[in-house]
């Protein structure tokens, strides 16, 4: 009797492990419209309203708990922010002078004076869920294909770039953050413009690495980094140019290395983000599936 039970238990265990491995390999091999993807979207659609209700109902409790954590953090940030204000004041003085010149030059060249998301229709979405692991930095938002949200649409927050849409159901969408290990954003350092690729460092969500910056390029702490939005006519970046990503926090060069190791601090508070804007119906970017 006991042996029979043990055999049954082992058989079920093997069956479950095989099922998990089959799911894993099938999910990787099938296309976006495959049966497993469709099943996941159906389950996500069911969970969407539940997550939305729970997110709204539990907000006061969440805010209360986070208040303690933020209070401890705020003490450390105060002196950093004071130094930042002094630096930014100097930058503002020179920027105001440059702004006047810029306006005149734009008028001369008749360039578009609208924002960096010109040509897109912004859709404001509420964050209703997020992944618990550092291996997937994803959010679920409460707008989906019914609000014209499509795969690869850029997502921005109040402070800067947040990520892009990687999956859509009718009422919800998955946003892969710029700190997700599948993310790579072509980026440009302002003002002189060396370009590289901003990638995350798994496990450290407050840091991005700007790769492929030549060792001879002068990069300084505090320089602003924006999306490059390049296109060669066949393939393009999924992001439009000029969206702020973050600022340089550190730049080091190894003895034998061709490229610098540039660390960025993202502008968007990706941990505590409540609302995002999805830039929908944008201009067609060659090579970017929508």
């Amino acid at each position: 009797m006991y042996r029979k039970q043990v055999r049954r238990r082992r058989a079920i265990m093997v069956l479950l492990i095989v099922a998990a491995l089959v799911l894993l390999s099938t999910r990787f091999s099938e296309s976006d419209g495959g049966p497993l993807h469709s099943m996941q979207r159906a389950v996500a659609s069911v969970f969407g309203p539940l997550e939305e209700g729970a997110t709204r109902a539990l907000k006061p409790a969440r805010d209360l708990i986070n208040w303690f954590d933020e209070t401890f953090q705020a003490r450390g940030e105060k002196s950093d922010l004071e130094a930042q204000v002094r630096r930014l004041r100097n930058q503002l003085a020179s920027a105001q002078g440059a702004e006047g010149e810029n306006r005149q030059l734009r008028e001369l060249l008749r360039l578009d004076r609208r924002g960096t998301l010109a040509g897109y229709t912004p859709v404001t979405a509420r964050v209703i869920g997020r992944s618990p692991t550092v291996w997937y930095s994803t959010l679920t938002v409460d707008k989906g294909s019914s609000a014209d949200v499509a795969i690869n649409d850029p997502v921005v927050g109040g402070d800067g770039l947040v990520g892009r849409i990687t999956d859509v159901t009718r009422g919800t969408a998955e946003v892969s953050l710029i700190t997700d290990n599948r993310s790579a954003v072509s980026a440009r350092v302002l003002p002189n413009g060396p370009e590289g690729v901003a990638e995350p460092e798994v496990g450290n969500s407050s840091n991005l690495l700007l790769d492929y910056i030549d060792r001879n390029q002068a990069i300084h702490e505090g320089q602003i980094v924006v999306t490059a939005g390049w296109s060669n006519g066949v393939i393009s970046s999924a992001y439009p140019p000029g969206v702020p990503i973050g600022e340089v926090s550190d730049a080091t060069v190894g003895e034998q290395e061709t490229y610098q190791r540039v660390h960025l601090r993202p502008f968007a508070d990706l941990r505590d983000i409540q609302f995002v804007q999805v830039a929908t119906d944008g201009p067609k970017r060659p090579g970017v599936a929508q």
Binding site: A19, A54, I65, D69, G129, R130, N181, V202
Partner: protein, 201 residues
């Protein structure tokens, strides 16, 4: 644990509530730079209460629901959670959980195993970007947080599943007059005093 349709519904609801709470509440919190993950806690608790088979099946189902709700790679969470659920069940089948500190310790330890297993699978599947050593801190802190959260949550899960549990040590201990008097000597003395006072009247 006896699995009847009613207890299966209880487990199903428990898993559903846990997934919704994880995605909409716990994932927004940050302690020591880490987000608490209650999914291993729930699965390990079910394994500790119901045995290896219950732990493994609940782990597989929980992983499937979680990955589907978050539109993530199907099978990764299932594989990790069914393993820790099974290990928790095997531990329970070989040891009597007589100390109330034991479940939080087991849950903390197995949550670290789950976090390390998840990291190993992700690395095997291929991560294109650099991996920080802070991942190790993440694994340790996840375990510590799970151990702390288990102090209120394990008794809660046991309470929800109590009708299905065959050998509930806590209930047995609560019924035992010897254990009761050893645990609360003040109250026993009070009763004796009251009895003595009652007899003298």
């Amino acid at each position: 644990m006896i699995i009847t349709p009613r207890s299966a519904v209880r487990i199903g609801l428990l898993v559903l509530v846990a997934v919704v709470l994880q995605v909409s509440f716990f994932s927004y919190l940050s302690f020591l730079g880490t987000t608490p993950d209650v999914m291993p806690l729930v699965v390990i608790s079910l394994g500790l209460l119901g045995g290896a088979l219950v732990g493994a099946v609940c782990g597989f189902a929980t992983g499937l629901v979680l990955d589907s709700a978050l539109l993530e790679t199907l099978g990764v969470s299932s594989l990790v959670l069914l393993t820790v659920g099974y290990l928790a069940g095997r531990y329970r089948e070989g040891t009597e959980i007589s100390n109330s500190l034991l479940p939080p310790l087991v849950i903390g330890g197995l949550t670290m195993v789950a976090a390390a297993g998840f990291a190993a699978i992700q690395l095997m599947l291929g991560v294109r970007t650099p991996v920080s050593l802070l991942v190790l801190r993440e694994i340790v802190v996840q375990g510590l947080l799970a151990g702390l959260l288990a102090i209120p949550f394990f008794p809660l899960i046991r309470r929800v599943m109590r009708p299905a549990i065959v050998d509930d040590f806590e209930a047995r201990r609560a019924r035992s007059p010897i254990a009761r008097s050893a645990a609360r000597p003040g109250r026993v003395r009070g009763r004796r005093m009251r009895r003595a006072v009652g007899a003298s009247r």
